[in-house]
Symmetry: C2
Subunit: 320 residues, 2 copies
């Protein structure tokens, strides 16, 4: 399998935000803070900590401000939050978080409407206003997201041409504002992707924009998450969102089986075995996954929590 | 990623044997029989049903004879059992099972000793006697197994040269008896493999024996199981052992986190997405996985049990 593996990979840790918002909880503010602080000790450089969303819709994020305030920050790590409306941004700006903007569009009209109340065109209008807002406030626009880029639970297959249109929209928007092009994340929001789809969609975007920095946001709904990461690595993709222990899921995916992001420690383990540097200490990330299970009070999907790494085994210590 | 995908893949279902022997149970004989019969309705062509092992060591298999007798067989499907000693073979021969022989060696001296009480040389002597026994009884030798071919929990890395030696031993043995060469399964018994190791070990065996039919027996201890299947498919490997719902684990792996085989329905889903025919109905295999969870009384690792297939979604039905 001739490949184009990157030398280094950057992982954005999504566990605290993607994970804790869907857990039945309640999870204490102190536990949330402690988890973010433990993650900061793994070597990961970006941690998505909280969502600024309506607590009536997502009660698990009602204490987002307290979590953001409570974190003892480690220099060099970026602690981010997610907002989806003006009020959320105002909350984020008042807190000691790293405020980075993103342009977010969805390649499925139905998913877009069900998830945000707005269809594709209305979302694009809204994103234009967000871009103006970010420019006015001096907030860097670092990423673009194309959600449901690999399929939708309502519409089924999402045409690659639609994904291309969504990427084109993001790039035209930032180009028009004279901003540097952001990294574009293709999101398998509801876990439809297989390695063949990764190759097809990433390939089509690459064909059109050979130099565009890409990332993937993958959910492991159907067990192919790590295989999809491997396929993307072989294409040279070097940025991934992932969640410690496989925390997460989407409350609005229209699907009871919606699963979390690909599991951070599994992606780190894969990269280590391929000789790719992530900057993350695998043992510490596994410790965080065990901590996550203690916090949520049940088993989480990540397999290394029980499987462990190979470091001690290869170091000649007899297995436990 | 240029690939050499096979047009068809054969999956040996290991769930009933690998899975039920490790469950704390008790699982009724009737449930075991019903599960095998449900699997027989999926299109899978070979089902490993029981182990003929010492019930004091593996109490979950004490009713192996009753299970084997209870199954209503479907013509064209092979129902097999595993024996590790003469008494086990005698039990198997007295039952309505398909009796097929295998030559089994382990590429780690320590694992071999801990698992079977015999080191590599003693195991090879024993396998010579098994071969004579199979020839005398007219039992076909269809497969060879090299266990711990990708690593060992006691010895750490297993040299590729040792794996080659083990394959050479199997082939010399059957060649010497004038038998057709069996399919050789490389087994990642304790889940150390990554796609890079699959390529390295399969590549080395292929270099030495380009026409030898190969298979893989993979455990998903560290989350890379499906990625490993994908890497093997890309090399043209077309036979896999797998377990419905990810049932299983090894009671003698020296590791509390030993996990089951790669999950059958995830392998089937991967193959479908790659356009590879397995002959297995994915929906029915997912139904079997749900049945397995009901039987064991707890969640099992397979993700499609909750994620579901994409058939209804792509067919235009709104997701549940």
């Amino acid at each position: 399998m001739p490949t184009d593996f990157p030398a280094t990979v950057t992982i954005n840790e999504e566990g605290p935000r993607e994970g804790f918002q869907i857990e039945p909880g309640p999870i204490s503010t102190a536990d949330k803070v402690a988890f973010v602080e433990a993650l900061a000790g793994t070597g990961v450089r970006k941690i998505d900590c909280v969502s600024f969303v309506d607590p009536r819709r997502v009660p698990g994020m009602a204490d987002a401000d307290a979590v953001a305030t409570g974190i003892h920050r480690v220099p060099g790590i970026r602690y981010t939050g997610l907002w989806l409306n003006e009020r959320g941004l105002d909350r984020a700006l008042a807190l000691p978080l790293d405020t980075v903007g993103a342009i977010r569009v969805t390649a499925s009209e139905t998913f877009s409407t069900n998830n945000t109340g707005k269809g594709i065109v209305a979302t694009q209008d809204e994103q234009r206003r967000w871009l103006e807002r970010y420019v006015a406030a001096g907030i860097p626009v670092e990423s673009g997201y194309v959600m449901t880029a690999f399929g939708c639970n309502f519409e089924g297959e999402v045409p690659v041409a639609t994904v291309i249109d969504m990427v084109a929209f993001i790039l035209e928007l930032v180009d028009g504002a004279g901003l540097p092009r952001p990294r574009v994340f293709l999101a398998d929001t509801v876990g439809h992707a297989a390695p063949s789809a990764i190759e097809r969609v990433v390939g089509a975007v690459r064909d059109r924009w050979p130099d565009l920095p890409l990332g993937l946001h993958l959910h492991d709904t159907r067990g192919l998450g790590v295989a999809n990461v491997h396929a993307a690595l072989a294409l040279g993709v070097d940025h991934f969102d992932a969640a410690c222990a496989g925390l997460g899921g989407c409350p609005f995916a229209g699907h009871a089986g919606a699963a979390g992001n690909v599991c951070t420690e599994e992606v780190v383990f894969l990269c280590e075995e391929l000789g790719i540097d992530t900057g993350i200490d695998l043992e510490r990330m596994i410790d965080c996954a065990r901590m996550a299970e203690e916090i949520v009070g049940h088993r989480l999907p990540g397999k290394l929590t029980r499987g462990g790494s190979l470091r001690a085994i290869r170091g000649g210590q007899v297995a436990a």
